[in-house]
Subunit: 234 residues, 2 copies
DNA sequence: CGAGAGGCAATTGCATGCACTTTTTGCCTT
DNA sequence: AAGGCAAAAAGTGCATGCAATTGCCTCTCG
């Protein structure tokens, strides 16, 4: 019976469900406001309702889903105000990370940051949005790690994942790719010369601009869409 | 059956369990590293294991408990490094809140802040630690609310609750009461004159000092038993 | 024709039971 | 006597079943 869920990854069934459902929320497969029916989810993942319920509870604790007692769970729908607040927090958190990076990054971390950053310049010239998005994520992850503060890293990561559904298509905006790189450049430069204040400000500004870019896609009233793709996973 | 759990408050059983267990962790009744046996907890609260399990899952998602697959749950035990990181984050978060307060607090919020702050001065003169602790909590809550940013409020509140078990007895330290008030005073003054930078710095410093004061009680290796406590309280 | 009450279907909430994993204890071997 | 192995005991993980709440539909009365 251990072969049964070779489909999904390791860990307990509940963990798998948390990841599976959480991924689908973060990646936008499940959209804000969409109803999360326990029996459907259980059937879809071929488990009983119990682990599904536990997973929904944990996701609720993480803020990704909203649970109304006796009335089921839905993908968390954030108000425009809360969304703004999350971007604001993100800007502050990234600012802190950047400042701490400037103060604390080791030599090899600094070198790796600059190397990767310079490498990504090529993708901008090519207009390779998909690939740049990967580098972008990696760039920000480096910033979080470079702060050498596990808890700030946690806060930043969770906030970032909660924002993920709303920042998706940002690079499709005209010129956003090049602008993003320039903003990264300002952050890297400040970090490399150890200027914490400047790095912090550059990072805050960077997120603020992303925030504005994403505001275009801000929602609150997504179509309920019965899309609900077939899981696959693996 | 609704009378059955009149002991605890309303909401679903799971919610009650989350609050009940969470409270016991935050208030130090359950100590870091302590084993959380599902059947014992279920018996203790007169519910079945199911809601207990769900509650433990949610508390795990909140970071208050740690779950080892197939090996039970324990109250989250933080390393010295992580503890430092949390205090650091707390300092930064409070700094942000204070800065935003200076920029955004409404007139009535400012007045209320100052009034309450001045009122608490009396408690310092009396050396009323218990009562001052209440005002202290209220003071910080005002700072979080005054930032007018729901998400920063969330981050701050959860971080604060995770730190609670480690900051308990701070006011018992000689002179800490008066020092705390003076630090609050610096924050209030800066906020009232709208100096965001100064307010942020004052708040950061305040938490940093609390951090040092709490470091006395910091542990990473609590004995499993009920020894080791300057913490008393409860 | 509209509004309210009652009942029915659907869904959530919790308890119980069984399977599997880990840990402990006791016996056997060296 | 000490170490290791095995079997049992304890405890977690998940499935299933029943009770209770919600939402909807219908039927009735104004």
């Amino acid at each position: 019976m251990s072969a049964k869920r070779g489909l999904i990854r390791s860990g307990t069934t509940v963990d798998q469900m948390v990841r599976a459902i959480g991924d689908r929320i973060v990646t936008g497969v499940l959209r804000p406001g969409e109803k999360l029916d326990e029996v459907s989810l259980a059937a879809r993942f071929e488990v009983s309702r119990t682990p599904v319920r536990e997973a929904l509870g944990q996701l609720s604790a993480m803020g990704l889903v909203e649970r109304r007692p006796n009335r089921g769970a839905i993908v968390a729908v954030v108000t425009q105000e809360h969304l703004t607040s999350m971007f604001e927090s993100m800007a502050e958190l990234e600012g802190i990370c950047a400042r701490l990076c400037a103060e604390r990054m080791t030599g090899s971390e600094r070198r790796a940051l600059e190397t990767e950053h310079q490498a990504s310049a090529r993708l901008v010239r090519l207009g390779a949005e998909e690939d740049y998005e990967y580098f972008n994520t990696e760039f920000h992850s480096r910033l979080y790690r470079g702060a050498h503060s596990t808890h700030i890293q946690e806060l930043t990561a969770t906030t970032r994942s909660r924002l993920a559904p709303f920042r998706r298509a940002q690079f499709r905006l005209a010129g956003r790719l090049a602008k993003s790189w320039q903003e990264h450049d300002a952050i890297v430069t400040a970090i490399l010369r150890g200027d914490g204040a400047a790095a912090g400000k550059a990072a805050r500004d960077h997120v603020s601009i992303v925030s504005e870019a994403s505001a275009v896609f801000a929602v609150g009233d997504q179509p309920k869409a019965a899309t609900m793709t077939p899981v696959t996973s693996g």
